[in-house]
């Protein structure tokens, strides 16, 4: 891992940007102190692989900033993204040695890591952590099932629209902007990564984005910067029933 750096100067958990959403969200201050003792930061540059599928994984951790992807690959090269990791998301599975997926940094990435053994030991003694991890895992399971509907039953156009609503929502929730009127955000993924997420080819992704643009559902400034003039229109295109869900 050529460009990985281990950041030495620790950030105080109290000042951590993901303090209230990560696996440590429920911890009391004394629990945080013990976590501080075993935590360390790692940084990755855009494009770097964090872990290869099948590799031994001796740590778990949280995404602090940046975006990473979880992907599976078949022998012949077909790949499917199975998770999109955003700030506060948890990486790794307590109680398992190897990684089941490739984890790749798609932007510059900072992670807050814990060696697996001490973390597992701490989980045993700290219900707040185990409880929060269960809650987060259940949320991920719901997201995965939502994605199964997208993969199994939606058209290419609906798939693209679905992905855009997800990114738009997440961006809105991070930046605390209410999604009334126009929404503006950047695509953190290449066309190819979108294709891997959606079970499409990159050409189809490109064509459907062009079509949504032509139909006035979105507009683009450059290749990555998106404006959505009418969010409910985008939701319709995604085939999502309820117009709401923004507060979920």
């Amino acid at each position: 891992m050529l460009n990985e750096k281990t950041v030495s100067h620790s950030v105080e958990c109290g000042d951590c940007p993901i303090r209230h959403r990560a696996v440590c969200a429920r911890c009391e201050s004394d629990e945080l102190e013990r976590l501080e003792e075993i935590k360390y930061y790692r940084s990755f540059e855009a494009g770097q692989t964090v872990i290869w599928s099948g590799d031994r994984m001796d740590f778990v951790g949280s995404v602090v900033s940046g975006i990473a992807t979880l992907t599976q690959t078949m022998e012949d090269g077909r790949t499917q993204m199975v998770g999109l990791l955003l700030p506060s998301d948890f990486v790794g599975r307590p109680g398992r040695d190897g990684s089941a997926y490739d984890v790749v940094a798609t932007t510059d990435l900072v992670m807050c890591c814990f060696r697996k053994k001490p973390f597992e030991a701490m989980m045993e003694r700290t219900p707040h952590i185990a409880h929060r991890l269960l809650e987060m895992t259940l949320d991920e399971l719901d997201a995965a099932r939502e994605w199964m509907l997208v993969l199994g039953r939606k058209t290419a156009r609906e798939k693209i629209a679905s992905l855009l609503t997800i990114i738009a929502r997440r961006d809105a929730s991070l930046n605390l902007r209410t999604p009334k009127g126009a929404m503006v955000f950047d695509l953190p993924l290449t066309r190819e990564a979108m294709a891997d997420y959606l079970g499409l080819t990159l050409e189809t992704v490109s064509r459907q984005i062009s079509a949504l643009k032509r139909d006035g559902v979105i507009s683009l400034q450059g290749k990555r910067h998106v404006t959505v003039p009418d969010f409910s229109r985008l939701l319709e295109e995604a085939g999502d029933d309820s117009d709401g869900g923004l507060l979920a």
Copy 2:
């Protein structure tokens, strides 16, 4: 719910067929005693809906015997199965009021239920339960991600073969037969249910099953009883890399 019955005569947890695999697997005998106090059984006939998506759900529980499905439906009727619930699998989400999915019994079904409130309270006091539930949820998340690869990237033939390997494996693990030589099992799903699982139409499912039969990968006795003469051949057809995985 016309034909639902609440079975009054309780079964002792010690004699329960899913004792060692369900959410209660790790419980000590005193913990089991407290669970006995709040548990009750419910039975459903094949075809009955256990819960509708969006309905208030005041219980959680485990499948004791039979098979149920978790499905999502779009406004226009497209449906995608997002989970297949087998004996010992857990239904419901602590900390959430409504069900996110339709739960349907595809065979006669017996569930061991707990009212949600008492169960949640018990989870707080009983790390063995919370811990086991986390473990089971992580397993389900892995299964969901595996399924995302099937839905997103596999061909119709590979999808059918993948489903058959899953059912064959599960059947082998329940019946403790080693899968050397021929494997024989029943399909617990209609062609339509398989189609909903795989993101296909029932016609395509039927055609691909016929094709696998024609090519000697499987043979059928009746519509539902399957013989697999060479399991590794089936794995090849599924596009799965490793030939193993039976012990997972």
